[in-house]
Symmetry: C2
Subunit: 501 residues, 2 copies
């Protein structure tokens, strides 16, 4: 029998402090993959997709990683004759693009303005990779197929709220292997999503079903599925867990579960005729990308201590054939919650199977856990949009309309970047972005105004950083109703489209 169904009591487990990985399981992995993690492979792993996803991640991560060493090289020669020419050569070789002439040209006066140059390179790299995303659409899985699968499981919409932490930014595309276009993702610090915002989305979707039969007609017996994803660190649980909940895993899980239940209650109280939604709570180990799934019972209720851990499942199905492994996953779900509905079972089984590929991905490319178990984001994203950001530890995401409402989330991000950048004398790059619907008259102009307003509010809130050239803001937006890339509205360093090529 599988030992994957955790049923802890308060007695045998101390929340947030006990090692979250069963010692047996760790031993198996350690002995199996101790050296040269490059050729492990779970029978359910999607090898082709792992290769494709790794190529994409590697390329982009390398582009951002090249910025500091390249600028170091350039810094070293800033007072040499022919500096500007040599600097551009180094930039072209190291980064693949030219630097803005005016910043280089002013270097002789005192010294090269490295903070501006650094922010410029970050923004320019973001822009390049973003343009590529919307041209190439490297999204993999087919959104239509997924919609059909989702409906077969009894759901017409999948709405996921992970934590704003950059170590969960790849949750949809990598950890769960879902098509980003078919999933609503709104990130909040501590996964503390906005209930009113979610109600509004529910209303929109229901109307679409009634009026347009999209994604299915209103009489289909499917529901809106809201998922909240908390997170924890198996390697350093006391320090690298969720900052919003003081790295207390149980507190993070509890808070996310409460928010989910509140959302369901709100729908049931606000709308008649048996309106309700389905809920799912998952936990993500940001060190290994394995997940915990809190399997609901027949009434949709979940329990903090009743969950499946995909790391256990990985180990326990690793030596089976494909169909046996799948059967075992089904058995594990039933063992965790004997009366879970058939649709939810099917959905969870898919999530678990998908996640096994990601466990393989981490094992093969990084070993037992990621080297960067802590924060290593490159920039902060603030606003609405960023569907192109599906990579781990690249961007800290504060989903907000105003700094006034999103101040707590922004403050967490700024604190993280003070550690990452400011202590090294480097500025914090913030991309302010508000995607809009171009078919709504005036929407582009309002997005532009909102960008300006938020940028201004950031400048006021973090005036000390701005005054020291330690915070830079790029303002962008994208028309969701078109296939066009992002548009640049403004930038606190030199215009990102100017001065190059």
């Amino acid at each position: 029998m599988l030992r994957t169904a955790h049923q802890h009591t308060a007695n045998n487990r101390t929340a947030g402090t006990a090692p979250l990985r069963r010692p047996g399981a760790v031993a198996t992995r350690n002995s199996e993959f101790h050296s040269g993690y490059s050729n492990v492979q779970h029978p359910l792993c999607n090898i082709d997709e792992n290769t494709r996803l790794h190529r994409y991640e590697d390329q982009i991560k390398k582009a951002f990683a090249a910025i500091v060493p390249t600028l170091k090289q350039i810094s070293a020669i800033q007072h040499e004759p022919d500096f500007e020419f040599k600097a551009q050569q180094i930039a072209r070789h190291g980064l693949g693009f030219d630097l803005p002439k005016n910043i280089l040209a002013d270097a002789w006066v005192e010294q090269l303005d490295m903070r501006r140059l650094f922010a410029w390179c970050m923004f320019y790299t973001y822009r390049r990779f973003c343009d590529e995303f919307f041209t190439a659409r490297p999204e993999g899985s087919n959104a239509n197929d997924f919609d059909a699968f989702l409906q077969a499981c009894g759901f017409h919409t999948l709405d996921i709220s992970p934590c704003a932490d950059g170590r969960l930014a790849h949750l949809v595309r990598y950890v769960l292997r879902l098509p980003p276009r078919a999933v609503r993702r709104k990130s909040y610090a501590g996964a503390m999503f906005d209930v009113e915002d979610s109600i509004q989305k529910w209303v929109e979707i229901e109307l679409q079903r009634f009026r347009e039969g999209q994604p299915n007609t209103a009489d289909a017996a499917t529901r809106y599925l809201k998922v909240a994803a908390y997170h924890f660190s198996s390697v350093d649980p006391k320090h690298q867990g969720c900052a919003a909940h003081g790295s207390d895993t149980r507190k993070a899980a509890q808070a996310a579960l409460e928010r989910l239940v509140n959302f369901r209650q709100a729908i049931e109280n606000s709308f008649c005729c048996g309106a309700s939604i389905d809920l799912l709570l998952i936990g993500v180990d940001t060190d290994t990308d394995s997940i915990r799934v809190h399997v609901p019972d027949a009434n949709g209720e979940m329990n903090l201590d009743r969950y499946l851990d995909t790391q256990d499942i990985y180990v326990e199905t690793n030596n089976l054939g494909i169909s046996d492994a799948r059967r075992e996953i089904g058995t594990a779900i039933q063992a965790c919650s004997s009366d879970v509905t058939a649709g939810m079972t099917q959905f969870i089984a898919r999530l678990i199977e998908n996640n096994l590929s990601q466990i393989d991905y981490v094992l093969n490319h990084h070993g037992e856990h990621y080297p960067d178990i802590g924060h290593a984001e490159r920039f902060i994203g603030a606003g609405v949009g960023f569907e192109d950001i599906q990579l781990r530890n690249l961007m800290y995401f504060a989903y907000l309309d105003t700094v006034e409402e999103g101040a707590a989330d922004m403050d967490v991000g700024i604190r993280i970047f003070k550690g990452l950048n400011v202590t090294h004398g480097l500025p914090i790059p913030v991309v302010v972005r508000f995607d809009y619907h171009g078919r709504v008259p005036g929407a582009r102009e309002r997005a532009r105004q909102r960008c300006g307003r938020v940028a201004q509010a950031l400048t006021e809130r973090y005036a000390d950083l701005c005054n020291q050239n330690l915070l830079h803001v790029l303002q962008v937006a994208r028309d969701c109703d078109s296939n066009k890339p992002i548009e640049i509205f403004a930038c606190s360093v030199d215009a990102i489209d100017a001065g190059v090529h």
Copy 2:
């Protein structure tokens, strides 16, 4: 034939500067009502309602108006022996309530803190009148009857956006004589309503029709009617018009019309299956409460120069019998736009007839125009709610979620109150209010937090005023799902419930 259909061309009229009242009409009114305005009466006037509405307005206006003279009396005796006792006697006599003991008790140290006392009295009076509103519900007209009438005209929802100007706060209940509960009112400076917010409301209403058959079923051939109300001053058009549009009447009308058309376009572009809405533009003369109705054609199109003026209609129907007067109104609407739909005609006829009572109201109680043609608001209301404020020139209303987004509207309000209060050394009272749905779990707590956030943002934005004791904030909210009165969360002067009775 009636001469009420205005069809101006650019040649015979200079926007915003020409007298907006036809000289003939003015002469008629002047000669008719030159002295002792107390017994004029239009045949279509609802005398009983005028009496009821005046009693209500008078009582509340007097309560606010009593504050300054009463405090003056108290100020004069502040260094007398037995001051506290005498002050309470004066307060009870002049205001009907006791003053907070601690403010009075500290007077001997230096002098009476009149700014705090003034703010306290304003907030306390607001609270009293607000409690009374939700207990007595002095709303008059029956909301259900009006819903039925609205649907008979082809509309299932009436959504009005007037200007935030306090001289339009009585638009629904007084100027148009509609039941506030049956009308959505969201005020914005210059009537520049938020298109996205309106789309969201449209979506909510449509879903309600589909799911609950409320206010009618989705297959009923009715539409959402959005009304924008700009305003102007017939007495002093260049100075007492809409501040947001520089007292330029044509600009104000043009901007409101554009916003309406954008909203319709947004609905048509964003939703399939022939989704659309109906529009109506009206202008309000804040000196006489007469209105201009820009009668739409068969396609719902309106023209800035094609409108009916109720002041003209008043004069031209004043000597007719009831049924003749009603027939003439119908004729005037047809003359203004020959192919206007029957439903819209019926609706506009009602608005016009209702407004004739209000013209009588102003004539009888104030004469040819209000004595306070300029701003004379008593406090600023910021947030969401305030359905109890249906009185003219009592509150400047900034509908907002955050100061960050609503800064422009707030700034206009603060500017007005610098003139009204600060120049006399009196503080600006601001009521921050966020009504919420108690059936949504956590909504009350979020309303409380939002109140605190907005109050904090106001304190930061207007720090100079706050530091001088010249801006005070009361934080309140009301559960829309209950019949309870407002709840006080916090106040920058002494607690409003403490120290009295």
